[in-house]
């Protein structure tokens, strides 16, 4: 591990001040008032993906485990909403989120129990294999899950209907549902920030940097990794539940392993060595993909080239690279 010393140095970097938060919050709050509905809905997708990417980064950036199976949790969240509608006739968003978080904890506890026995490449493949179990079940048990047709996730009732009943789906998604997503996003990111900066989060970073030393200071490495896995899975599931009504459908695609790759892509695009990197990465990735899909038939080629260039030339991602430029400017100026 040649990068360990550098990682330690980076981990001890002071927490960025909250100065960015105010303009970003104003921008996010004002966005639906100025931007067209399409852009707002696109941003809502981005916010949902951002929760999943930060959740993944709790494992990748802070615990040093690369999961190639996080689509399992994201998809579970979407299916939880679909099941609530189909089998319980419930259309309350809070019920969706509760069902999502609960099923996320259960699935992640099971998968994590198996996965955290390994690190590095075996962890990645194990997470991938287990996520494919869920995918194949969603794909094959069509009388339960609707097969490739998926399950319908209709427009939900928010907070027991205080915003009134939705009249037009586009208006609903670009206003009420956008703000709802923004609220859940703020809560989730806040919680994840607290987790990362808690003693527990510091312990995870210690495990990432040096497993043996962490064990010697008395950290129960496997237990901590398992808890991190469950937390990461739960937040990724919540992201999937938020995505469900936006997409209108829970399909096996959301559980399929290439989507896991996309979540990793988001985290790396933004920079997985930073807390805010995956948020920026997810939103940028979502725009990039939407425009690529809209403009060309060969959007995968475009995304693939971006990923290759990123890995070769900009491994620190957008935020990491900006941060390095910022530090250099400060040194020189």
């Amino acid at each position: 591990m040649s990068g360990t010393a550098a990682t330690v140095a980076r981990a001890s970097k002071p927490v960025p001040s909250g100065a960015y938060l105010v303009p970003v919050a104003v921008l996010l709050l004002a966005f639906p008032l100025v931007a067209p509905a399409y852009q707002t809905i696109l941003l809502a997708y981005g916010l949902a993906f951002a929760i999943a990417a930060v959740a993944l980064n709790l494992l990748l950036g802070y615990t040093g485990l690369l999961s190639f199976g996080h689509a399992a949790f994201f998809g579970t969240g979407a299916y939880a909403a679909g099941f609530m509608v189909k089998y319980f006739g419930v259309v309350s968003m809070e019920a969706f989120l509760a069902a999502g978080a609960l099923s996320g904890i259960v699935v992640a506890a099971l998968f994590g129990f198996v996965c955290v026995r390994y690190t590095r490449i075996f962890f990645s493949i194990l997470a991938l294999a287990l996520s494919q179990v869920l995918w194949s079940l969603a794909f094959k048990l069509f009388w339960v899950t609707g097969g490739t047709d998926g399950l319908r996730v209709p427009t939900p009732v928010l907070l027991g209907g205080v915003f009134g009943s939705p009249d037009d789906k586009v208006t609903f998604l670009s206003h009420q549902y956008y703000y709802y997503t923004l609220g859940v996003f703020a809560i989730c990111i806040g919680l994840l920030w607290l987790i990362v900066h808690s003693p527990f989060g510091k312990a995870l970073q210690a495990i990432r940097d040096n497993e043996v030393r962490a064990e010697f200071v008395g950290i129960r490495v496997r237990r901590y990794r398992w808890i991190a896995f469950v937390l990461s899975g739960m937040f990724a599931t919540i992201a999937g539940t938020l995505w469900g009504p936006l997409n209108g459908l829970a399909t096996p695609e959301a559980l399929y392993w290439p989507f896991s790759g996309e979540i990793v892509f988001m985290a790396v695009l933004g920079g997985f060595r930073t807390f805010s990197g995956p948020i920026v990465g997810a939103i940028v990735f979502n725009y990039l993909k939407a425009y690529a899909v809209g403009r060309t038939e060969y959007w995968q080629l475009l995304l693939g080239v971006v990923l290759v260039i990123l890995v070769m030339a900009m491994p620190e991602g957008i935020i990491g690279t900006l941060g390095r430029f910022g530090r250099r400017l400060r040194r020189e100026g």
Binding site: S136, V268, Y298, V305, L307, P315
Partner: protein, 293 residues
């Protein structure tokens, strides 16, 4: 009785193809410690090249000669591999594994669309070759003769590969590099050349797998992504980096799949992934590993 025999033959066909795909993946991991997520798409490339070539040549050439296109398609994929390794993989050997996985994931996306661009979005078929061989009567049951070709190519390649790795001087260099790269360098082995060749052989096997199976099932976009995960299951069961393990893993997966399709078709894939997970939990280096680390 005859159904059983046909099922055994089907299992052998499936074993042959799975071995070719997974063997290449395993060889690449064994030598350069890179898990190539784009490997399935190299298999798909082989299938498309073969289907395209058969489509162009079928009218004027007798079917047995068309079989010569299989190594040609494999060679095309090997050439692509020989271009990929020095340009994209070589700069990453000293970086963390995450970047290698990500790079090959990017390559997967690129290859998917490059194939769509070159061969078009519609599936290609090479079934003329399959039907040209006609049926054959084996122990009283009718069986497509071409499937026997698949079995022969699969197991023939396994034999050739074994001879190459264990009976040639280059095989010695390959195994030496795989065991200890620094020592191999200091002994004067050209590790760069070994890497290019090993990666190309891995791609060759994937390409041959695609080429040999395409007359049976056609070439469709997305087939590589499905194949890759099955190849993962095979190498996980057999042990990443082990060729014998890949063969045994392919046989196990083929048998389980045949049984699952017969008795509980809905759980076919889930059972395979669960077996892989179970093997990783109990013996992470594979069932056939000598050490348990």
């Amino acid at each position: 009785m005859s159904t059983l025999f046909v099922q055994v033959l089907n299992t052998a066909v499936y074993t042959a193809v799975l071995f070719l795909i997974a063997g290449g993946l395993s060889l690449v991991y064994g030598v350069m410690r890179v898990v190539n997520l784009a490997h399935g798409n190299l298999y798909m490339l082989g299938a498309f090249v073969m289907a395209w070539a058969v489509g162009g040549a079928a009218a004027g050439v007798v079917p047995p000669l068309l079989l010569l296109l299989i190594p040609v398609a494999g060679a095309v994929v090997a050439l692509v591999g020989a271009l990929i390794e020095p340009t994209l993989l070589r700069p990453l050997y000293n970086r963390a594994e995450e970047y290698q996985l990500l790079l090959t994931f990017g390559l997967l996306l690129i290859l998917e669309d490059a194939i769509k661009f070159v061969f078009g979005p519609t599936p290609l078929s090479a079934s003329t070759l399959w039907s040209a061989f006609g049926p054959i009567s084996v122990l009283g049951s009718i069986y497509p003769a071409y499937n026997l070709v698949v079995i022969a190519v699969g197991f023939g390649s396994a034999g050739l590969l074994w001879a190459f790795v264990y009976r040639t001087k280059f095989g010695v260099m390959l195994r030496a590099t795989s065991q200890n790269r620094k020592m191999a360098v200091s002994l004067g082995i050209n590790v760069r050349a070994v890497y290019v060749l090993a990666f190309s052989i891995g791609c060759l096997m994937a390409g041959v797998a695609g080429a040999v199976i395409v007359p049976v099932q056609g070439a469709v976009l997305g087939m590589g992504i499905d194949a890759l995960v099955l190849a993962f299951v095979v190498v996980v069961i057999g042990g990443l980096g082990s060729l014998e393990g890949a063969l045994a893993g392919a046989a196990i997966v083929a048998v389980v799949r045949t049984l699952a399709i017969t008795f509980f078709p809905e759980l076919e894939l889930a059972v395979l992934y669960l077996i892989a997970a179970a093997v990783l939990v109990t013996r992470p280096a594979g069932i056939f590993s000598r050490s348990s680390t």
